[in-house]
């Protein structure tokens, strides 16, 4: 999350919105966003509606939900989908920024 925060301006320069969706409730999101001064969208999905729609993987052995990232282009088409296999399995921003540059 902080990695995205540090590079947020690079995403803005590339006309890309960042939207973070998670299973926490609105109060937890708000507290986290205020604490870290985050400028992108934060969406509580405690009913898991979007998380299920996008097929977020749940790993019972690693205690919970795995991170995932998707890039949707201006036409509404998915250009990149990454389902993490562990908490640390998050793509580098540089990789995503390069992809945005190639769209």
């Amino acid at each position: 999350m902080m990695q995205l925060h540090q590079d947020h301006s690079k995403f803005i320069e590339r006309n890309t919105e960042i939207v973070v969706i998670g299973p926490d409730d609105a109060a937890k999101f708000k507290a986290y966003w205020q604490e870290h001064q985050l400028g992108f969208h934060g969406i509580p999905d405690d009913k898991h509606s979007v998380l299920k729609l996008y097929g977020q993987k749940v790993n019972l052995f690693k205690l919970g939900r795995m991170p995932a990232q998707m890039l949707v282009d201006k036409e509404g088409v998915l250009r990149y989908v990454h389902y993490g296999h562990s908490m640390a399995d998050i793509p580098e921003n540089a990789e995503i920024l390069k992809l945005i540059g190639s769209l």
Partner: protein, 43 residues
């Protein structure tokens, strides 16, 4: 559990952000790209 695939239309959704303001994916069509990050939860 269903997943999504590259080069297919992203399923649209509309959901309130933590301030109660609606975020609708299709509102950005023709305007900007959207990076969707599915978070595990804050620890």
């Amino acid at each position: 559990m269903p997943g999504v695939e590259v080069n297919k239309q992203a399923p649209d959704f509309a959901i309130a952000d933590f301030n109660g303001k609606e975020f609708r994916l299709s509102d950005y069509k023709g305007k900007s790209s959207v990076l969707i990050v599915l978070n595990r939860g804050f620890i």
